[in-house]
Symmetry: C2
Subunit: 304 residues, 2 copies
């Protein structure tokens, strides 16, 4: 097998991903498992690491290993203090935490930002993907990372200068599973027309989200929305609301391109929502996580 | 016992209330039970009615009976079509549905409104409380009815001209019970300072609700909010957001008075939130429901 220069681990709440990365930053091999930190018993992260990539570690014991994501949180293996934003690969590399185990692990810190309103915001894991996506490209880049807690970020000349968290995915999930809106939903099918109606109502109409949410009930009551479309409508309403909120925080030039990171169905929904808002969507690289670990490890001098 | 001129029933999703009302509209006697329509088995509403107030009905079989609330919905005893808004006691009285049982019941319709944005909104039960609160008072009245689905309404010269629903209570409940924010909460104590901080952040700060919700997590993470205060903070953030949304739908003069209907702890929180926003809160009568049933029954000619 080709020689690796780095092993990168993206260890989140619900999933575990590992990459063997060569000296040019290319992924040689990827492994993925439903072994997120919530599934690890008794905090025995070492055992899970051995189970998932013990053969890699044994075959190339001298290769440095970096780990990013919720594995660096209070609920993870080692709590790594947040690195202050703005931060680029150099600042993040300078705040890596070396964990004296075999193998030695280099944990990547998350980022913290105190907003203009004095309220803190945080990311853990996404900073690595953002660094991987923007690399050392000059200029201003706007990025969206959809998920349970969706993140928007701004990077300027390789440095993450701003980010914000939106609880969109979690609000959708709890309303779908536990609210009266969920009880109205029939089926899981993607209803594109209903999704677009939700998007449209998010950027027009009276009131804000607490008022608009009730439309998911009344439109059905008045036979203006099929029960099979309520879930898609609610998804459009929430994603559309997030986009309006985020644009309200930023100055986005009409010609600006927005990069949506991820290949999930949810990421595709965001791309469609941005395009429907006449915003330019730029394809993001599909190896942003591994690429970010490579760039951070290189900035830390871990790669020769 | 004093002679009743009317029996009024306010039968909601989770509670049952009944009033014996005299010919001047005063409540002679009130009964309350946790016998909402969701608790009625096999649709046997007649049995529950007999159990709760059978003695009243037997003692005064000639007294007319009106019923309002979710008992008139598709999930209730008889589905009564919505009455179109604007509507006052005369319009509502004209749309009462007589149900040919023993005793004959007169069901009060809910109201439907198609908003300026073309999206429908509905109330069932609150219309009766609003009519009871405003009576035939001339002028413009702004009312708030806190609850799982909070309602704001505008009444002009005895006619309900506008209303809107905000899913505030339900969003709070599902986030508290099922989200990461709920897992951060310790205890149920009222933390007044945390509630006020939530209120303040709802009317300042960046973004909208989806972004601001995350502050309930990060403030705790940075030791700026005690875990015992997270529930109160979230309550303040949501109620404050509702107030901003509602004020955005309306033209509220600085000297306007807002009536908050209800004596629940939640209603008191709304009063505090409005006062903290420098809005004038006017005490509402505590018998608005019974009074509304009386006024509607009188307009329908049911009371001699």
């Amino acid at each position: 097998m080709a020689t690796a220069a780095l092993i990168g681990i993206d260890w989140g709440t619900t999933s575990f991903r590992a990459y063997r990365i060569d000296s040019a930053g290319a992924s040689l091999e990827t492994r993925e498992a439903a072994a997120g930190i919530l599934s690890v018993r008794d905090g025995d992260f070492g055992r899970v690491l051995g189970r998932e990539i013990g053969d890699w570690l044994q075959a190339e014991p001298e290769v440095p290993v970096v780990a990013s994501g919720m594995i660096t949180s209070r609920q993870g293996w080692v709590e790594v203090p947040y690195c202050a934003c703005p931060a680029g690969s150099a600042q993040i590399a300078g705040a890596l935490m070396r964990h004296p185990t075999r193998p030695t692990l280099h944990f990547v810190p998350g980022l913290a930002l105190i907003g203009d309103d004095g309220v803190p915001d945080v990311i853990r894991g996404e900073e690595t993907q953002i660094i991987g996506e923007i690399g050392d490209h000059p200029g201003r880049h706007l990025l969206v990372l959809p998920g349970t807690h969706s993140k928007w970020a701004l990077a300027e000349n390789g440095v993450i200068s701003w980010f914000a968290t939106f609880m969109t995915g979690e609000v959708f999930a709890v309303l779908k599973e536990h609210s009266i809106l969920g009880r109205l939903m029939q089926g899981e099918a993607d209803d594109h027309a209903a999704f677009e109606r939700g998007l449209a109502y998010a950027r027009s109409g009276q009131g804000g989200l607490l008022k608009r949410l009730f439309s998911a009930r009344t439109l059905g009551l008045f036979d203006r929305l099929p029960a099979t479309g309520v879930a898609s409508y609610l998804s459009g309403l929430l994603i559309g609301s997030e986009i309006e909120e985020a644009l309200g925080c930023l100055e986005v030039a009409p010609e600006a391109e927005i990069r949506v990171i991820g290949a999930s169905r949810l990421a595709w929904r965001y791309r469609g929502a941005l395009a429907a808002r006449n915003l330019r969507v730029r394809p993001a690289r599909d190896d942003a996580g591994a690429r970010g670990q490579f760039l951070i490890a290189r900035a830390a001098g871990l790669i020769g």
